[in-house]
């Protein structure tokens, strides 16, 4: 079965902060080929991720997916993050991830709880499409309650519209 490695977008709006600036270190894979991470230092080089890779592999160290205003669709620059984390989840069945969904401050707080959850669920679907299984993923929404940036303008808002990938078990 051919599992497409590219994530197909419902709508492509690419504005603001690029979520994954460093793409070069993970080699894009061909269908049916195992991807290889050049700077992996796993003890056994079988092409599978190990827990230490979470701290050493550049793509796995990217833990945040960003979103456009009022949207929950995954942007193209997040594809690589989702690919490597999806593979990690497939390689490590014991891994558990909490997907923490957030929204910027505009609009009502309760609606933003829903928006944060919708984003978390979108990342969950994408990770499952990339190899993770539903039982490894749990979505929690904080709405607009846990911003990382303060300020009533887009430079702060764009940083707050995000899903954080948090490993609760490696």
């Amino acid at each position: 079965m051919n599992t497409p490695m590219r994530f197909i977008l419902a709508a492509a709006l690419c504005v603001g902060v690029a979520a994954c600036a460093k793409k070069a270190t993970v080699v894009e894979s061909q269908p049916d080929a195992r991807p290889v991470a050049p700077d992996t230092t796993s003890a056994v080089d079988d092409g599978m991720y190990g827990p230490e890779d979470l701290e050493t592999v550049a793509c796995l160290r990217q833990r945040v997916v960003y979103f456009d205003f009022d949207r929950a669709d995954i942007r193209s620059e997040a594809q690589d993050i989702l690919a490597c984390h999806g593979k990690y989840l497939r390689d490590r069945p014991s891994a558990q991830v909490s997907l923490e969904g957030h929204a910027d401050e505009r609009g009502t707080r309760e609606y933003n709880l829903g928006l944060g959850e919708r984003r978390g669920n979108a990342v969950s679907s994408a990770l499952q499409a990339n190899g993770g299984s539903g039982g490894q993923l749990n979505t929690v929404s904080y709405g607009e309650e846990r911003p990382v940036a303060e300020g009533n303008e887009e430079s702060a808002w764009s940083q707050n519209r995000r899903v954080e990938i948090v490993y609760t078990a490696k």
């Binding site: 505009r106 309760e110 609606y111 929690v140 309650e145």
Partner: protein, 442 residues
């Protein structure tokens, strides 16, 4: 140190198409002048009350509290203190020509006397200046520490006598404070008098709090807290601090709202996969699903007859207000003006809906007035640009809402006719999520 709310400047705005609360609950005819379709503010003089007690003067200026209340509601304009030239304390001392010359329609006088046990007895009288007649005279007893409460009750009685609707000055507000930056924040749920005085902490956490909702008897507050890691709904007795978790399901637990009879709670749960409105029977904790749609359905509030819920849904693409029977069924869309409408609250008579209306980056409080039928007229009450969380006073005469001043959240009270807006500011930190209490029980 308990944060103090300090009342700041009174902002007088131009009046715009007044939609004043109608209806005579007390049986008297409403006394309003309508000129050119716009009701003028009623001039009223509140004379400093005579101090007839033996001990130290009380630290509360009762007349000033009454005057501030009457000014806040937009329908009155009180005579400035410096223009009060005579100080009658009782009917025998009132010279009506003085007040006619000062163009006052009404006059309030009173006196503070000692009562048993260190309490005060406050007597007040209300006069119709043109008719040269006393139209109200009463006495209240107030504990030493609660002269403000007595003053608010007097303002309510004066308001009701003239306007014909129960006053809402002797009420409280609940709100959330957030102090500190980003990850070091501390949150508190607070309750204060509705003019911001006497704040008390109800609960304090290191995790976010939101959506406080009063029970109809004013004794409990339901709220959302993240102290368990995920959102959960608590209900807490205000006087004792006792609380319990009502909902902590997988997913979102949000937007609690008590039914008018206090026996049920509308809430938002996403355990089925997306946020839906449910109704919980509080005693049995049994929940029944009301909405069934893949969109975000949240922020339910009850119509006064307890039979329908008004809620926010993005089933049409962006959030709008809808109405649905409590028993479930078809949802009817209510809002058609503005690209974003959310957080709807309903006035006591079920005819006005206040909400957050968004257009681009501008978020303001708007009111949909359906007193003349549907679809109704929408008017904007606040300047923006990040206004949210409107809550009605129980008589519909005022709204409190959250606004942003720079990086700090503040609360504003705006009169329903949009004539007057006042800011309440917390000494430190950020204030949000106000909820106006029901009428207080004497």
């Amino acid at each position: 140190m308990t944060p103090r709310i300090v009342l700041l400047a009174l902002l007088l705005l131009g009046s715009h198409g007044a939609a004043l609360a109608q209806g005579g609950l007390s049986g008297d005819e409403p006394r309003l002048e309508i000129r050119n379709g716009v009701a003028a503010a009623i001039p009223i003089a509140v004379v400093p009350f005579a101090l007839e007690s033996a001990g130290l003067p009380p630290d509360t200026d009762v007349a000033a509290v009454i005057a501030a209340d009457l000014n806040r509601v937009g329908q009155f304009r009180t005579l400035a203190r410096q223009d009060v030239v005579e100080y009658p304390g009782r009917e025998a001392e009132v010279k009506f020509p003085t007040w006619r010359v000062l163009k006052q329609d009404f006059l309030v006088v009173g006196r503070v006397q000692d009562a048993e046990g260190g309490a005060y007895r406050i007597e007040f009288e209300l006069f119709d200046v043109a008719k040269q007649q006393r139209i109200l005279g009463m006495a209240l007893t107030a504990r030493a520490g609660d002269l403000r409460g007595a003053a608010h009750q007097i303002a309510d009685l004066v308001y009701e006598k003239i306007i014909g609707i129960r006053g809402a000055f002797w009420t409280r507000i609940a709100y959330i404070t957030s102090i500190g930056k980003l990850k070091d924040r501390q949150y508190a749920l607070m309750v204060a008098d509705s003019d911001g005085y006497n704040p008390q902490t109800v609960v304090r956490t290191r995790e976010p709090l939101l959506s406080p909702a009063w029970s109809p008897d004013g004794r409990r507050i339901a709220y959302v807290s993240f102290e368990r890691g995920n959102s959960s709904i608590y209900v807490q007795e205000v006087s004792t601090g006792q609380r319990q978790v009502l909902a902590s399901y997988k997913g979102i637990n949000g937007a609690p709202a008590f039914s008018p009879d206090g026996s049920k709670l509308a809430l938002t749960l996403s355990m089925s996969g997306n946020p839906e409105i449910y109704v919980m029977d509080i005693e049995s904790r049994r929940v029944t699903q009301v909405t069934r749609h893949f969109s975000i359905d949240t922020e339910a509030n009850w119509t006064p007859d307890g039979r329908s819920l008004v809620f926010t849904s993005d089933r049409a693409g962006k959030p709008q207000l809808y109405q649905i029977p409590v028993t479930g069924g078809d949802a009817t869309r209510l809002t058609f003006a503005g690209e974003y409408n959310a957080g709807g609250v309903i006035s006591w008579d079920g005819k006005q809906f206040a909400m957050v209306q968004g257009n681009g980056n501008m978020y303001r409080i708007a009111v949909l007035d359906r007193s003349l039928g549907s679809p109704g007229e929408t008017r904007v009450l606040s300047p923006g640009n990040l206004d949210e969380a409107p809550s009605y006073a129980p008589n519909g005469s005022m709204l409190i809402y959250a606004a942003s001043e720079g990086s700090r959240g503040v609360l504003n009270v705006v009169s329903a006719d949009a004539r007057v807006r006042q800011r309440l500011v917390l000494a430190d930190g950020d204030v949000r999520e106000p909820a106006w209490s029901p009428f207080r029980q004497r």
